[in-house]
Symmetry: C2
Subunit: 500 residues, 2 copies
């Protein structure tokens, strides 16, 4: 039977509806906070879309301890010394928080294109990088809302003129705004192609016309509230069907190529040869480091390896001849509480080098597929998808011109035992050995499987693994320096800065 | 009886002595780490003093997880948008860590003077700011070593020429280096006046000549090792004589002027008047915010007040009309573990606005003399010296041109009770009230004493307190907006950027 007696809902005045939506947003956000849900709202826009006023209204009912706004300025030069996504990684939402991007990464790319500094053909690779970024965040639980504000061309002109006619606001209208206004059609078309190319099930675009402010505001409220409500609903369902905690994760073995078993240990190096060669190589590194600075090349060296394989010693010899202003050593320990509230790559992104700087990681993001896998510190799905995430991150760095050098310092189990014992007996080195080192040693086989799988899955042409036989520490150090020299020399010659 | 039979200590070769000192530094640093001692090493220098090589040698034996180097570049423009000490506060040492300043704050001031951009008469006020900074760190337990590297004029010329003659290093010698070389005598004299003016018992200067590299290196080792050894010794003694923990701190009453009792609550504002006035004031704020941006004035608004006095509501009305790119709201909660490993002002310094930005603190550094005092979260000596520390910080901000606006939102005890009850009854506001609010309320009298003492001791001409009667929320909001308008308007007119 068709229902005919439904009372017509009373037509709400725009004002009371707005108030209602504002309150609803506040309530839903607090609920999302209870479930520790992180939210990212990207607000791209044409000029003169009243984005500021709109954003302000949206923020009013959200507890100020629960949101952050990151504004993207195309004119800021400092962040351009880093890969495009660096600044956005540094502003990803904490659990339970909403992060707003006022403009955001899409805008930077479109703006560079509109200014004629980036060819249309190149746009695709930036969309790819941003899509990967969003997928990685989404996989870790971040809810993403993407909004693009538009305004009809005539109305845009009207608003720009109004701003210009008021002495207090006239400075806000720049020649660039008028240039962009003349480009109205091609710019909007490019933005729409961008939206088509980057619309994802977990991060859909909403194009919102701002000719009428209230209608636009209502639409923005709805988009954010819907996303939050769905996320809360899903979180509740997940909680109801949650796995028994404490359940141990099954070990997923790796049966592929055993890279480590292929390592041959060459005979020890003579001390005299070592001393002479070390001096020569360090002089070369010294010169190269200056060129890295002057040619503005970013360099990353990652040191992984068995406990007691000699990472610290290699790093020391590497940096010994470099001006301290030219490098940073970043030691990676267990993540802090703050770091655990972010995507696991966040803490590494913070440390990525700008142009002209060398960053040396003493342990790294590969901890995800090594210690976190072996010790069950993350879910199996998490370390399994990390290979792709890491490759995507390294691709993005590579595209920016970053030189990536990755070392696995390899020793055998007997050598490690000898070194552990020697450390325990030497009062100057006792601090280097802990109970944890002995515990890790018991899991040698699982670590070996994990290292092999890591090499198999993340050994790429632009970021290859260097397995360094390290039974002879002197030979290992020379090999590390040689590898660094070989990786840097060609990069300096062809150094060319990307548009972004 | 005079001893004559002492065996002459075997003269050590420079090399083995260096090795010995390097190891000693490593050992002492690890011991200092056990006692959570933070260390700051400031290395100022003339040009061509081989500072980089020297620093590198010093770092070699220190565990890379335990030190950081912060290099100061006079040419970096981004940090100049903040007060001089901002970047150094952001790089103060964690407990158990050594922070090196490669150059540091003294250098920036001297360099600006040497470039003719700062009059000699102005130097004193910068030295004062830096001395205060060091005293504050020292009071919180930071050990400070200050080194100034020199080189004879002839040797400096020789080194610059040598660098110039090598194509790989010639780019490192700039016209500025030669200009500074010609200024050798006045520069060195200015540096020595600087050292005289800023030598403190807890932070003495060591001028070290680098003509002979090894002698200089030995001297640097000694200065750092001595400082660490003394600190470890003191920490051991302190531990032995440590107070019984858990001992409750005696309450230190305040008997001075009772500012809060002088507050008169005016009659409530009419809603119609409020709405009209609010709109007007927000329009004014909107315009002023644009001028803050274009005139590049930094602005800080601090909101303190009783629980339920209406801080959040005032902040909302204040920011409602401001472009979100122009302001930040910084909510202050209990400090994190990382924040507790730093001086208590560190977490606020991180958030200070650059030129052209408004930062609104929802609670603030005044927590030290309010909640931390009342709840016994810090030692009595700590909150007692905080008044001076805060005044010094606000002086430094003011000298940079920052507008400081401080609010205490005042209500009486009955009004608070009414509002607490209303919050509990309103499902949309229940989240705003916690057990803690009720507990705080029980200590009303102690809070009142603390607020009065805070106003007495930190009410300065450049950062006065505004006590806002907030029984009528509407009237309070308008008074807040009026105060902001009155504070900002003259500052915009006379805005003048400091040399640093």
């Amino acid at each position: 039977m068709k229902e005919t007696s439904d009372p017509q809902p009373e037509e709400k005045s725009g004002k009371s509806l707005l108030k209602e939506l504002a309150i609803k947003l506040g309530v839903t956000q607090r609920e999302a906070k209870k479930f520790d849900i992180p939210v990212l709202v990207i607000i791209g826009a044409m000029d003169a879309t009243e984005k500021g006023r709109l954003l302000n209204q949206v923020l009013l009912e959200i507890d100020s301890r629960s949101f952050k706004v990151y504004s993207t300025h195309a004119s800021h030069t400092e962040p351009r010394r880093y890969p495009l996504l660096h600044r956005f990684w540094n502003h990803t939402p904490l659990k339970g928080h909403i992060q707003f991007y006022d403009r955001g990464p899409y805008y930077l790319v479109l703006d560079t294109w509109a200014e004629g500094k980036l060819h249309e053909d190149k746009l695709g690779r930036y969309w790819e990088d941003i899509i990967n970024f969003e997928r990685q965040l989404s996989d870790s639980g971040v809810q993403i809302v993407k909004i693009f504000l538009t305004v009809p061309k005539k109305e845009q002109a009207k608003r720009l003129k109004k701003l210009e006619s008021n002495p207090a606001t006239s400075w806000r209208v720049t020649p660039k705004d008028w240039r962009r206004h003349r480009q109205y059609r091609p710019f909007l078309e490019a933005a729409r192609r961008m939206m088509d190319a980057t619309d994802q099930p977990h991060a859909t675009w909403h194009e919102i016309d701002t000719e009428d402010f209230k209608t636009a505001l209502i639409e923005v409220y709805h988009r954010i509230i819907d996303k939050l409500e769905n996320a809360v609903k899903a979180a509740k369902e997940k909680k109801a069907s949650a796995k028994r905690t404490g359940e141990s994760k099954p070990w997923i073995p790796y049966k592929g190529r055993n890279y480590l078993s292929e390592v041959r240990f060459p005979k020890p190096m003579e001390r005299a040869t070592y001393k002479r060669t070390l001096k020569e190589r360090q002089e070369t590194i010294h010169e190269l480091a200056h060129q890295i600075h002057s040619r503005e090349v970013p360099v990353i060296a990652v040191f992984c390896g068995w406990d007691a394989a000699g990472k610290g010693g290699c790093i020391k010899r590497l940096v010994q001849s470099i001006d301290p202003r030219g490098y940073d050593v970043v030691p990676i320990a267990a993540p802090t509480k703050l770091e655990l509230s972010h995507h696991y790559l966040w803490r590494f992104w913070k440390e990525m080098p700008p142009q002209g700087k060398i960053t040396i990681f003493d342990r790294s993001w590969y901890g995800r597929v090594l210690v976190e896998r072996v010790e069950g510190l993350c879910e199996n799905e998490e370390w399994q998808r990390a290979y792709q995430e890491i490759n995507e991150m390294e691709t993005h760095l590579h595209r920016f011109g970053t030189v990536l050098i990755k070392f696995w310092l390899h020793i055998d189990k007997d050598t490690q035992l000898e070194r552990f014992k020697a450390r325990q007996e030497n009062p100057l080195k006792q601090w280097k050995i802990t109970e944890e080192d002995w515990r890790n040693r018991e899991k040698w086989d699982r670590y070996e499987e994990s290292v092999n799988e890591m090499i198999e899955k993340t050994n790429t042409p632009y970021a290859p693994w260097n397995i360094v036989p390290s039974k002879c520490k002197m030979r290992a150090r020379i090999q590390v320096l040689d590898t660094v020299i070989q990786a840097i020399s060609p990069a300096i010659k062809k150094a060319k800065k990307p548009a972004l």
